[in-house]
Protein backbone atom coordinates (compact mmCIF):
# COMPACT_ATOMS: atom_id res chain seq x y z
CA UNK A 1 0.00 0.00 0.00
CA UNK A 2 1.26 3.43 -0.83
CA UNK A 3 -0.13 5.37 2.09
CA UNK A 4 -0.57 3.67 5.39
CA UNK A 5 -1.96 5.66 8.28
CA UNK A 6 -2.88 4.64 11.80
CA UNK A 7 -3.26 7.50 14.23
CA UNK A 8 -4.68 7.64 17.71
CA UNK A 9 -4.71 11.06 19.30
CA UNK A 10 -7.06 11.80 22.13
CA UNK A 11 -7.33 15.26 23.63
CA UNK A 12 -9.96 16.67 25.90
CA UNK A 13 -11.60 18.48 23.05
CA UNK A 14 -11.37 15.87 20.36
CA UNK A 15 -10.57 12.23 19.83
CA UNK A 16 -8.98 11.19 16.56
CA UNK A 17 -8.74 7.47 15.94
CA UNK A 18 -8.11 6.69 12.33
CA UNK A 19 -6.53 3.84 10.44
CA UNK A 20 -6.55 3.18 6.72
CA UNK A 21 -4.42 2.01 3.87
CA UNK A 22 -4.58 3.57 0.45
CA UNK A 23 -2.95 2.66 -2.84
CA UNK A 24 -0.96 5.14 -4.89
CA UNK A 25 -2.92 8.04 -6.29
CA UNK A 26 -5.07 10.66 -4.67
CA UNK A 27 -6.51 9.79 -1.30
CA UNK A 28 -9.29 12.16 -0.47
CA UNK A 29 -10.19 12.83 3.14
CA UNK A 30 -13.81 13.68 3.11
CA UNK A 31 -15.94 14.77 6.01
CA UNK A 32 -17.92 17.50 7.64
CA UNK A 33 -16.43 20.56 9.27
CA UNK A 34 -14.80 19.55 12.54
CA UNK A 35 -14.56 15.87 11.69
CA UNK A 36 -10.79 15.89 12.14
CA UNK A 37 -9.45 16.19 8.61
CA UNK A 38 -6.97 18.93 9.36
CA UNK A 39 -5.91 17.20 12.56
CA UNK A 40 -5.12 14.05 10.62
CA UNK A 41 -3.20 15.83 7.91
CA UNK A 42 -1.18 17.64 10.58
CA UNK A 43 -0.21 14.31 12.07
CA UNK A 44 0.95 13.11 8.66
CA UNK A 45 2.95 16.29 8.17
CA UNK A 46 4.59 15.91 11.56
CA UNK A 47 3.09 19.15 12.86
CA UNK A 48 1.52 17.21 15.67
CA UNK A 49 3.01 14.16 17.26
CA UNK A 50 0.35 11.65 18.23
CA UNK A 51 1.30 9.25 20.99
CA UNK A 52 0.28 6.19 19.02
CA UNK A 53 0.75 6.27 15.31
CA UNK A 54 2.24 4.57 12.34
CA UNK A 55 2.39 6.63 9.20
CA UNK A 56 4.21 5.58 6.07
CA UNK A 57 4.31 6.60 2.43
CA UNK A 58 5.38 3.46 0.63
CA UNK A 59 8.53 2.37 2.45
CA UNK A 60 9.18 5.89 3.76
CA UNK A 61 8.21 5.62 7.41
CA UNK A 62 7.24 9.01 8.78
CA UNK A 63 6.28 7.85 12.21
CA UNK A 64 6.22 4.56 14.00
CA UNK A 65 5.60 5.15 17.65
CA UNK A 66 6.26 1.52 18.50
CA UNK A 67 9.69 1.63 16.92
CA UNK A 68 10.28 5.09 18.33
CA UNK A 69 10.53 6.60 14.86
CA UNK A 70 9.36 10.13 14.32
CA UNK A 71 10.64 12.30 11.52
CA UNK A 72 10.47 16.03 12.12
CA UNK A 73 8.44 17.94 9.53
CA UNK A 74 11.40 19.20 7.55
CA UNK A 75 12.70 15.71 6.94
CA UNK A 76 9.40 14.35 5.69
CA UNK A 77 9.71 15.80 2.21
CA UNK A 78 6.03 16.57 2.00
CA UNK A 79 4.40 19.49 0.27
CA UNK A 80 1.66 20.88 2.47
CA UNK A 81 -0.88 23.28 1.04
CA UNK A 82 -2.56 24.75 4.09
CA UNK A 83 -6.18 25.65 4.48
CA UNK A 84 -5.16 29.24 5.22
CA UNK A 85 -2.28 29.79 2.83
CA UNK A 86 0.42 30.64 5.34
CA UNK A 87 2.53 32.60 2.91
CA UNK A 88 5.66 34.26 4.26
CA UNK A 89 4.73 37.91 4.61
CA UNK A 90 8.28 39.18 4.34
CA UNK A 91 9.00 37.51 1.03
CA UNK A 92 7.73 38.36 -2.42
CA UNK A 93 5.57 35.87 -4.23
CA UNK A 94 8.59 34.77 -6.20
CA UNK A 95 10.62 34.22 -3.05
CA UNK A 96 7.76 32.38 -1.44
CA UNK A 97 7.59 30.07 -4.41
CA UNK A 98 11.32 29.48 -4.33
CA UNK A 99 11.45 28.82 -0.61
CA UNK A 100 11.32 25.05 -0.74
CA UNK A 101 13.41 24.73 -3.89
CA UNK A 102 16.67 25.07 -2.03
CA UNK A 103 15.97 22.10 0.15
CA UNK A 104 14.79 20.07 -2.81
CA UNK A 105 17.71 20.97 -5.02
CA UNK A 106 19.29 17.53 -4.80
CA UNK A 107 16.07 15.64 -5.24
CA UNK A 108 14.89 14.33 -8.57
CA UNK A 109 12.06 16.10 -10.32
CA UNK A 110 11.67 18.42 -13.26
CA UNK A 111 9.10 20.90 -12.05
CA UNK A 112 10.13 24.45 -12.91
CA UNK A 113 9.11 27.81 -11.56
CA UNK A 114 7.91 28.89 -14.98
CA UNK A 115 5.71 25.90 -15.37
CA UNK A 116 4.10 26.38 -11.99
CA UNK A 117 3.66 30.10 -12.48
CA UNK A 118 2.00 29.49 -15.80
CA UNK A 119 -0.28 26.85 -14.57
CA UNK A 120 -1.48 28.85 -11.60
CA UNK A 121 -1.74 32.14 -13.47
CA UNK A 122 0.36 34.05 -10.99
CA UNK A 123 2.87 35.57 -13.37
CA UNK A 124 1.67 39.10 -12.68
CA UNK A 125 2.01 38.67 -8.94
CA UNK A 126 5.62 37.53 -8.76
CA UNK A 127 7.05 40.73 -7.38
CA UNK A 128 4.18 41.54 -5.03
CA UNK A 129 3.97 40.66 -1.37
CA UNK A 130 1.35 38.34 0.08
CA UNK A 131 -0.38 41.03 2.11
CA UNK A 132 -1.70 42.66 -1.04
CA UNK A 133 -3.09 39.51 -2.62
CA UNK A 134 -6.72 38.52 -2.73
CA UNK A 135 -7.78 35.33 -0.98
CA UNK A 136 -7.67 33.27 -4.13
CA UNK A 137 -4.36 34.67 -5.27
CA UNK A 138 -2.81 33.73 -1.96
CA UNK A 139 -4.01 30.17 -2.20
CA UNK A 140 -2.64 29.76 -5.70
CA UNK A 141 0.77 30.87 -4.55
CA UNK A 142 0.61 28.44 -1.64
CA UNK A 143 -0.08 25.61 -4.04
CA UNK A 144 2.84 26.60 -6.21
CA UNK A 145 5.13 26.80 -3.24
CA UNK A 146 4.33 23.26 -2.16
CA UNK A 147 4.73 21.89 -5.68
CA UNK A 148 8.14 23.47 -6.12
CA UNK A 149 9.48 21.70 -3.04
CA UNK A 150 9.44 18.46 -5.10
CA UNK A 151 7.66 16.55 -2.37
CA UNK A 152 7.35 12.79 -1.94
CA UNK A 153 3.70 13.37 -1.24
CA UNK A 154 1.41 16.36 -1.45
CA UNK A 155 -0.87 17.20 1.45
CA UNK A 156 -3.61 19.58 0.48
CA UNK A 157 -6.10 20.87 2.99
CA UNK A 158 -9.03 22.23 1.03
CA UNK A 159 -6.69 24.01 -1.32
CA UNK A 160 -9.45 25.20 -3.60
CA UNK A 161 -11.99 26.40 -1.07
CA UNK A 162 -11.06 30.03 -1.66
CA UNK A 163 -10.98 29.80 -5.44
CA UNK A 164 -13.64 30.60 -7.97
CA UNK A 165 -15.01 27.97 -10.30
CA UNK A 166 -12.86 29.04 -13.20
CA UNK A 167 -9.68 28.83 -11.14
CA UNK A 168 -10.77 25.56 -9.61
CA UNK A 169 -11.30 24.13 -13.04
CA UNK A 170 -7.84 25.34 -13.99
CA UNK A 171 -6.04 23.97 -10.99
CA UNK A 172 -7.78 20.66 -10.50
CA UNK A 173 -6.20 19.13 -13.59
CA UNK A 174 -2.85 19.80 -12.08
CA UNK A 175 -3.60 17.66 -9.09
CA UNK A 176 -4.64 15.01 -11.56
CA UNK A 177 -1.40 15.36 -13.37
CA UNK A 178 0.44 15.00 -10.08
CA UNK A 179 -1.36 11.73 -9.66
CA UNK A 180 -1.01 10.52 -13.22
CA UNK A 181 2.15 11.99 -14.65
CA UNK A 182 4.39 12.92 -11.81
CA UNK A 183 3.00 9.93 -10.02
CA UNK A 184 3.12 11.71 -6.68
CA UNK A 185 0.76 10.46 -4.00
CA UNK A 186 -1.64 13.12 -2.78
CA UNK A 187 -3.58 13.32 0.45
CA UNK A 188 -6.35 15.74 -0.30
CA UNK A 189 -8.92 17.19 2.05
CA UNK A 190 -12.14 18.27 0.49
CA UNK A 191 -15.76 19.06 1.14
CA UNK A 192 -16.66 18.98 -2.49
CA UNK A 193 -18.11 15.88 -4.04
CA UNK A 194 -17.13 17.08 -7.47
CA UNK A 195 -13.51 17.34 -6.42
CA UNK A 196 -13.68 13.95 -4.77
CA UNK A 197 -15.13 12.32 -7.82
CA UNK A 198 -12.65 13.87 -10.09
CA UNK A 199 -9.51 13.27 -8.09
CA UNK A 200 -9.98 10.43 -5.71
CA UNK A 201 -8.33 7.10 -6.19
CA UNK A 202 -9.35 6.29 -2.66
CA UNK A 203 -11.95 7.94 -0.53
CA UNK A 204 -11.56 8.10 3.23
CA UNK A 205 -14.66 9.46 4.85
CA UNK A 206 -14.27 10.81 8.38
CA UNK A 207 -16.99 11.28 10.92
CA UNK A 208 -16.20 12.75 14.31
CA UNK A 209 -12.62 11.63 14.25
CA UNK A 210 -13.26 8.14 12.95
CA UNK A 211 -13.19 6.55 9.53
CA UNK A 212 -16.77 5.93 8.51
CA UNK A 213 -15.99 4.61 5.08
CA UNK A 214 -12.90 3.83 3.08
CA UNK A 215 -12.40 2.30 -0.33
CA UNK A 216 -11.69 2.85 -4.00
CA UNK A 217 -13.41 5.95 -5.29
CA UNK A 218 -15.61 4.14 -7.81
CA UNK A 219 -16.83 1.74 -5.18
CA UNK A 220 -17.53 4.30 -2.49
CA UNK A 221 -19.11 6.81 -4.83
CA UNK A 222 -21.19 4.20 -6.61
CA UNK A 223 -22.71 3.04 -3.37
CA UNK A 224 -26.20 4.49 -3.14
CA UNK A 225 -25.88 4.36 0.64
CA UNK A 226 -22.97 6.77 0.64
CA UNK A 227 -24.58 10.18 0.90
CA UNK A 228 -22.35 12.06 3.27
CA UNK A 229 -23.30 15.48 2.01
CA UNK A 230 -26.82 14.90 0.83
CA UNK A 231 -28.41 13.03 -1.98
CA UNK A 232 -27.20 15.39 -4.64
CA UNK A 233 -23.77 13.89 -4.20
CA UNK A 234 -24.73 10.35 -5.19
CA UNK A 235 -23.33 9.19 -8.47
CA UNK A 236 -21.67 6.28 -10.17
CA UNK A 237 -18.25 6.24 -11.74
CA UNK A 238 -17.69 4.43 -15.00
CA UNK A 239 -14.41 3.36 -16.49
CA UNK A 240 -14.08 4.07 -20.19
CA UNK A 241 -11.56 4.59 -22.91
CA UNK A 242 -11.30 7.34 -25.52
CA UNK A 243 -12.63 5.94 -28.78
CA UNK A 244 -12.63 8.88 -31.13
CA UNK A 245 -12.49 12.67 -31.29
CA UNK A 246 -15.27 13.95 -33.52
CA UNK A 247 -15.11 17.06 -35.62
CA UNK A 248 -18.07 18.74 -33.98
CA UNK A 249 -16.10 18.94 -30.76
CA UNK A 250 -17.41 15.81 -29.12
CA UNK A 251 -15.27 12.99 -27.84
CA UNK A 252 -16.66 9.52 -28.06
CA UNK A 253 -15.84 7.19 -25.22
CA UNK A 254 -16.15 3.47 -25.20
CA UNK A 255 -17.44 2.09 -21.93
CA UNK A 256 -17.41 -1.68 -22.39
CA UNK A 257 -18.92 -1.37 -25.84
CA UNK A 258 -21.33 1.43 -25.06
CA UNK A 259 -20.67 4.77 -26.73
CA UNK A 260 -20.70 7.85 -24.54
CA UNK A 261 -20.35 11.36 -25.94
CA UNK A 262 -18.64 14.17 -24.09
CA UNK A 263 -17.32 17.59 -24.97
CA UNK A 264 -13.78 17.37 -26.31
CA UNK A 265 -11.40 15.71 -23.90
CA UNK A 266 -7.66 16.24 -23.89
CA UNK A 267 -6.84 12.55 -23.60
CA UNK A 268 -5.51 10.64 -26.56
CA UNK A 269 -7.46 7.99 -28.30
CA UNK A 270 -7.06 4.77 -26.35
CA UNK A 271 -6.40 6.44 -23.01
CA UNK A 272 -8.56 5.41 -20.07
CA UNK A 273 -10.83 7.98 -18.41
CA UNK A 274 -13.25 7.98 -15.55
CA UNK A 275 -16.65 9.40 -15.94
CA UNK A 276 -18.87 10.28 -13.09
CA UNK A 277 -22.56 10.25 -13.66
CA UNK A 278 -24.41 11.97 -10.89
CA UNK A 279 -27.57 10.11 -9.95
CA UNK A 280 -29.64 13.23 -10.31
CA UNK A 281 -28.50 13.65 -13.89
CA UNK A 282 -29.98 10.36 -15.02
CA UNK A 283 -33.50 9.98 -16.36
CA UNK A 284 -34.96 6.51 -16.70
CA UNK A 285 -37.31 5.46 -19.44
CA UNK A 286 -39.32 2.27 -19.90
CA UNK A 287 -39.54 2.81 -23.65
CA UNK A 288 -36.60 3.39 -25.91
CA UNK A 289 -36.40 7.19 -26.02
CA UNK A 290 -36.62 8.90 -29.36
CA UNK A 291 -36.26 12.45 -30.56
CA UNK A 292 -34.42 13.45 -27.39
CA UNK A 293 -31.59 15.95 -27.24
CA UNK A 294 -29.66 13.62 -24.96
CA UNK A 295 -26.97 11.65 -26.76
CA UNK A 296 -26.11 9.10 -24.12
CA UNK A 297 -28.64 6.40 -23.68
CA UNK A 298 -27.72 3.10 -22.07
CA UNK A 299 -29.89 0.07 -21.92
CA UNK A 300 -29.86 -2.05 -18.77
CA UNK A 301 -32.03 -3.44 -16.06
CA UNK A 302 -32.89 -2.38 -12.58
CA UNK A 303 -30.90 -4.17 -9.92
CA UNK A 304 -32.20 -2.35 -6.87
CA UNK A 305 -34.63 0.35 -5.85
CA UNK A 306 -33.84 2.03 -2.60
CA UNK A 307 -36.40 4.41 -1.22
CA UNK A 308 -34.93 7.31 0.67
CA UNK A 309 -36.32 9.27 3.57
CA UNK A 310 -37.77 11.97 1.33
CA UNK A 311 -39.82 11.74 -1.80
CA UNK A 312 -36.95 10.23 -3.76
CA UNK A 313 -35.52 6.83 -4.49
CA UNK A 314 -32.17 5.68 -5.80
CA UNK A 315 -32.42 3.18 -8.61
CA UNK A 316 -29.38 1.08 -9.46
CA UNK A 317 -29.27 0.09 -13.12
CA UNK A 318 -26.90 -2.54 -14.39
CA UNK A 319 -25.62 -1.60 -17.83
CA UNK A 320 -22.92 -3.21 -19.89
CA UNK A 321 -20.72 -0.22 -19.01
CA UNK A 322 -21.16 -0.80 -15.31
CA UNK A 323 -23.64 0.14 -12.63
CA UNK A 324 -25.37 3.49 -13.05
CA UNK A 325 -27.34 5.19 -10.31
CA UNK A 326 -30.42 7.23 -10.97
CA UNK A 327 -32.32 9.38 -8.55
CA UNK A 328 -36.04 9.51 -9.29
CA UNK A 329 -39.11 10.38 -7.31
CA UNK A 330 -40.95 7.54 -5.65
CA UNK A 331 -43.96 8.72 -7.61
CA UNK A 332 -42.12 8.08 -10.88
CA UNK A 333 -40.72 4.80 -9.63
CA UNK A 334 -44.27 3.66 -8.98
CA UNK A 335 -45.65 5.09 -12.20
CA UNK A 336 -42.97 3.39 -14.28
CA UNK A 337 -43.19 0.18 -12.26
CA UNK A 338 -39.50 0.14 -11.52
CA UNK A 339 -38.46 -2.99 -9.67
CA UNK A 340 -35.64 -5.46 -9.68
CA UNK A 341 -35.10 -6.99 -13.07
CA UNK A 342 -37.19 -4.49 -15.04
CA UNK A 343 -35.47 -3.39 -18.25
CA UNK A 344 -34.94 0.36 -18.56
CA UNK A 345 -33.07 2.96 -20.58
CA UNK A 346 -30.86 5.37 -18.69
CA UNK A 347 -30.76 8.76 -20.37
CA UNK A 348 -27.79 10.99 -19.64
CA UNK A 349 -27.36 14.35 -21.29
CA UNK A 350 -23.94 14.71 -22.80
CA UNK A 351 -23.27 17.99 -21.17
CA UNK A 352 -24.51 16.86 -17.85
CA UNK A 353 -21.41 14.79 -17.54
CA UNK A 354 -19.60 17.73 -16.07
CA UNK A 355 -15.94 18.48 -16.74
CA UNK A 356 -15.18 18.29 -13.04
CA UNK A 357 -16.46 14.78 -13.02
CA UNK A 358 -14.09 13.41 -15.58
CA UNK A 359 -10.71 12.33 -14.47
CA UNK A 360 -8.04 10.93 -16.73
CA UNK A 361 -6.01 8.09 -15.32
Amino acid sequence: MSLSVAVKQVTQAFALDVAFEAPRGVTVLFGASGSGKTSLVNAVAGLSRPKEARIAVEDWVLQDSKAGVWLPPHKRQLGYVFQEGRLFPHLTVRQNLAYGQWFARTRAGDISLDRVVDMLGIGALLDRRPSGLSGGEKQRVAIGRALLAKPKMILADEPLAALDEARKAEILPYFERLRDEVNIPVLYVSHSMAEVARLATTVVALEQGRVSRVGPAAEVLGDPGFTPTGVRAVGAVLEARVAQHHEDGLTELDAAGIALFLPQLAQHVGQPVRVRIAAHDVILSREEPKGLSALNIMQGHVSEVRAGAGPGAIVSVVTPAGPVLARVTRRSATALGLAEGVPVWAVVKTVSVAPQDIGGR
Binding site: F88, H90, F103, S131, A146
Partner: protein
Protein backbone atom coordinates in the same frame (compact mmCIF):
# COMPACT_ATOMS: atom_id res chain seq x y z
CA UNK B 1 30.46 72.28 16.10
CA UNK B 2 34.15 71.54 15.99
CA UNK B 3 34.92 74.65 17.95
CA UNK B 4 32.04 74.10 20.27
CA UNK B 5 33.57 71.10 22.00
CA UNK B 6 37.15 70.80 23.18
CA UNK B 7 39.40 68.00 21.97
CA UNK B 8 38.92 66.05 25.21
CA UNK B 9 35.21 66.29 24.75
CA UNK B 10 35.46 65.16 21.19
CA UNK B 11 37.43 62.17 22.30
CA UNK B 12 34.72 61.39 24.85
CA UNK B 13 32.11 61.55 22.11
CA UNK B 14 34.10 59.31 19.82
CA UNK B 15 34.78 56.85 22.60
CA UNK B 16 31.14 56.75 23.65
CA UNK B 17 30.11 55.97 20.10
CA UNK B 18 32.67 53.20 19.86
CA UNK B 19 31.73 51.74 23.20
CA UNK B 20 27.98 51.88 22.56
CA UNK B 21 28.36 50.38 19.11
CA UNK B 22 30.45 47.48 20.29
CA UNK B 23 28.29 46.94 23.32
CA UNK B 24 25.28 46.66 21.02
CA UNK B 25 27.06 44.33 18.64
CA UNK B 26 28.25 42.06 21.41
CA UNK B 27 24.86 41.97 23.07
CA UNK B 28 23.01 41.23 19.84
CA UNK B 29 23.86 37.59 19.21
CA UNK B 30 23.53 36.36 22.79
CA UNK B 31 20.51 38.60 23.24
CA UNK B 32 18.64 37.09 20.32
CA UNK B 33 19.61 33.60 21.42
CA UNK B 34 18.47 34.11 24.99
CA UNK B 35 15.29 35.82 23.83
CA UNK B 36 14.51 32.88 21.54
CA UNK B 37 15.19 30.38 24.30
CA UNK B 38 12.96 32.26 26.71
CA UNK B 39 10.21 32.69 24.14
CA UNK B 40 10.09 29.25 22.59
CA UNK B 41 11.77 26.66 24.77
CA UNK B 42 10.89 25.05 28.02
CA UNK B 43 13.89 24.06 30.10
CA UNK B 44 14.67 23.65 33.77
CA UNK B 45 16.07 26.79 35.31
CA UNK B 46 14.36 28.98 32.74
CA UNK B 47 13.17 31.32 35.44
CA UNK B 48 16.68 31.59 36.83
CA UNK B 49 18.06 32.55 33.43
CA UNK B 50 15.26 35.03 33.03
CA UNK B 51 16.09 36.51 36.40
CA UNK B 52 19.79 36.69 35.72
CA UNK B 53 19.20 38.50 32.47
CA UNK B 54 17.23 41.12 34.32
CA UNK B 55 19.68 41.60 37.17
CA UNK B 56 21.48 44.61 35.69
CA UNK B 57 18.16 46.34 35.50
CA UNK B 58 17.23 45.64 39.07
CA UNK B 59 20.53 46.44 40.75
CA UNK B 60 21.90 49.91 41.20
CA UNK B 61 24.43 50.33 38.40
CA UNK B 62 27.20 50.80 40.89
CA UNK B 63 26.48 47.37 42.30
CA UNK B 64 26.59 45.86 38.84
CA UNK B 65 29.88 47.63 38.22
CA UNK B 66 31.18 46.28 41.46
CA UNK B 67 30.17 42.73 40.53
CA UNK B 68 31.85 43.17 37.16
CA UNK B 69 34.96 44.32 38.92
CA UNK B 70 34.93 41.26 41.15
CA UNK B 71 34.37 39.03 38.18
CA UNK B 72 36.36 40.61 35.37
CA UNK B 73 38.93 42.78 37.17
CA UNK B 74 42.58 41.82 36.83
CA UNK B 75 42.23 40.19 40.24
CA UNK B 76 38.79 38.83 39.46
CA UNK B 77 37.94 35.16 39.03
CA UNK B 78 37.16 35.33 35.34
CA UNK B 79 39.44 38.29 34.74
CA UNK B 80 42.54 36.39 35.76
CA UNK B 81 41.65 33.47 33.57
CA UNK B 82 40.77 35.66 30.61
CA UNK B 83 43.98 37.64 31.04
CA UNK B 84 45.91 34.42 30.49
CA UNK B 85 44.33 34.00 27.09
CA UNK B 86 45.00 37.64 26.37
CA UNK B 87 41.58 39.16 26.95
CA UNK B 88 41.66 42.11 29.30
CA UNK B 89 38.71 44.26 30.17
CA UNK B 90 40.03 46.16 33.18
CA UNK B 91 40.63 49.86 32.53
CA UNK B 92 40.18 49.40 28.77
CA UNK B 93 37.49 50.64 26.47
CA UNK B 94 36.56 47.00 26.00
CA UNK B 95 35.62 46.94 29.66
CA UNK B 96 33.42 49.98 29.15
CA UNK B 97 31.76 48.18 26.27
CA UNK B 98 31.30 45.08 28.40
CA UNK B 99 29.68 47.10 31.16
CA UNK B 100 27.42 48.85 28.68
CA UNK B 101 26.54 45.54 27.02
CA UNK B 102 25.63 43.97 30.34
CA UNK B 103 23.49 46.93 31.31
CA UNK B 104 21.75 47.00 27.92
CA UNK B 105 21.25 43.24 27.74
CA UNK B 106 17.89 43.01 29.52
CA UNK B 107 16.43 45.72 27.30
CA UNK B 108 17.54 43.94 24.18
CA UNK B 109 16.28 40.56 25.32
CA UNK B 110 12.91 41.94 26.28
CA UNK B 111 12.36 43.66 22.97
CA UNK B 112 13.43 40.67 20.91
CA UNK B 113 11.49 38.23 23.02
CA UNK B 114 8.27 40.14 22.61
CA UNK B 115 8.64 40.19 18.88
CA UNK B 116 9.48 36.51 18.73
CA UNK B 117 6.33 35.77 20.66
CA UNK B 118 4.39 37.75 18.09
CA UNK B 119 5.55 35.58 15.20
CA UNK B 120 2.87 33.10 14.16
CA UNK B 121 4.30 29.62 14.74
CA UNK B 122 2.14 28.48 11.86
CA UNK B 123 4.47 30.26 9.47
CA UNK B 124 7.42 28.48 11.01
CA UNK B 125 5.57 25.20 10.66
CA UNK B 126 4.93 25.95 7.02
CA UNK B 127 8.63 26.56 6.49
CA UNK B 128 9.35 23.29 8.24
CA UNK B 129 7.10 21.33 5.91
CA UNK B 130 8.96 22.86 2.99
CA UNK B 131 12.16 21.27 4.22
CA UNK B 132 13.72 23.90 6.41
CA UNK B 133 15.39 22.72 9.62
CA UNK B 134 14.77 24.63 12.85
CA UNK B 135 17.90 26.68 12.36
CA UNK B 136 17.05 27.44 8.77
CA UNK B 137 13.50 28.37 9.72
CA UNK B 138 14.89 30.74 12.26
CA UNK B 139 17.18 32.38 9.75
CA UNK B 140 14.72 32.67 6.89
CA UNK B 141 11.39 33.15 8.59
CA UNK B 142 11.64 34.04 12.26
CA UNK B 143 14.58 36.40 12.03
CA UNK B 144 13.27 38.47 9.12
CA UNK B 145 9.90 38.72 10.81
CA UNK B 146 11.37 39.91 14.10
CA UNK B 147 13.77 42.35 12.45
CA UNK B 148 11.72 45.36 13.56
CA UNK B 149 11.83 44.07 17.12
CA UNK B 150 15.54 43.32 16.92
CA UNK B 151 16.15 46.76 15.52
CA UNK B 152 14.10 48.37 18.23
CA UNK B 153 15.96 46.37 20.83
CA UNK B 154 19.32 47.22 19.34
CA UNK B 155 18.59 50.93 19.29
CA UNK B 156 17.34 50.74 22.84
CA UNK B 157 20.53 48.94 23.79
CA UNK B 158 22.61 51.49 21.93
CA UNK B 159 20.87 54.38 23.63
CA UNK B 160 21.25 52.76 27.01
CA UNK B 161 24.92 52.09 26.28
CA UNK B 162 25.39 55.74 25.34
CA UNK B 163 23.93 56.76 28.70
CA UNK B 164 25.51 54.12 30.93
CA UNK B 165 27.56 55.62 33.70
CA UNK B 166 27.44 53.98 37.11
CA UNK B 167 28.56 50.51 36.18
CA UNK B 168 31.12 51.76 33.72
CA UNK B 169 32.91 54.12 36.04
CA UNK B 170 32.92 51.60 38.86
CA UNK B 171 34.26 48.82 36.68
CA UNK B 172 36.74 50.57 34.42
CA UNK B 173 36.96 54.02 35.98
CA UNK B 174 37.41 57.11 33.91
CA UNK B 175 40.58 57.29 31.89
CA UNK B 176 40.59 60.00 29.27
CA UNK B 177 40.71 58.46 25.80
CA UNK B 178 40.15 54.95 27.11
CA UNK B 179 37.15 54.80 29.33
CA UNK B 180 36.07 58.38 29.66
CA UNK B 181 32.67 58.20 27.99
CA UNK B 182 30.21 61.02 27.53
CA UNK B 183 28.22 60.29 30.68
CA UNK B 184 31.42 60.36 32.76
CA UNK B 185 32.23 63.74 31.31
CA UNK B 186 28.72 65.00 31.91
CA UNK B 187 28.85 63.72 35.46
CA UNK B 188 32.16 65.49 36.03
CA UNK B 189 30.77 68.80 34.89
CA UNK B 190 27.72 68.47 37.07
CA UNK B 191 29.94 67.99 40.10
CA UNK B 192 31.49 71.45 39.89
CA UNK B 193 29.63 74.64 40.67
CA UNK B 194 28.89 76.42 37.41
CA UNK B 195 29.62 73.35 35.34
CA UNK B 196 26.05 73.09 34.12
CA UNK B 197 26.67 74.85 30.83
CA UNK B 198 29.46 72.54 29.84
CA UNK B 199 27.36 69.57 30.97
CA UNK B 200 24.47 70.79 28.88
CA UNK B 201 26.65 70.97 25.78
CA UNK B 202 27.54 67.32 26.23
CA UNK B 203 23.95 66.40 26.99
CA UNK B 204 23.05 68.00 23.69
CA UNK B 205 25.60 65.83 21.92
CA UNK B 206 24.29 62.70 23.66
CA UNK B 207 20.76 63.55 22.76
CA UNK B 208 21.70 64.31 19.19
CA UNK B 209 23.46 60.99 18.71
CA UNK B 210 20.78 58.93 20.37
CA UNK B 211 18.02 60.76 18.51
CA UNK B 212 19.78 60.13 15.25
CA UNK B 213 19.95 56.44 16.10
CA UNK B 214 16.30 56.42 17.06
CA UNK B 215 15.12 58.16 13.96
CA UNK B 216 17.26 55.97 11.78
CA UNK B 217 15.79 52.92 13.43
CA UNK B 218 12.27 54.22 12.94
CA UNK B 219 12.93 54.78 9.29
CA UNK B 220 14.36 51.31 8.87
CA UNK B 221 11.60 49.75 10.94
CA UNK B 222 9.01 51.47 8.82
CA UNK B 223 10.63 50.23 5.66
CA UNK B 224 10.79 46.72 7.06
CA UNK B 225 7.20 46.87 8.26
CA UNK B 226 6.12 48.04 4.86
CA UNK B 227 7.88 45.13 3.30
CA UNK B 228 6.39 42.67 5.69
CA UNK B 229 2.88 43.81 6.39
CA UNK B 230 2.05 46.56 4.03
CA UNK B 231 1.37 47.75 0.57
Amino acid sequence: MMGWLGPEEWSAVALSLKVALWATIWALGPGIFVAYALARWEFPGKQVVNGLVHLPLILPPVATGYLLLIGFGTQGVLGRWLAEIGIVFAFRWTGAALAAAVMAFPLLVRAVRLSIEAVDPKLEQAAGTLGASKLWVFGTVTLPLILPGVLAGAVLAFAKAMGEFGATITFVSNIPGQTRTLPSAIYSFLQVPGGEDAALRLVAVSVFVAMAALILSEVIARRVAKRVGGV
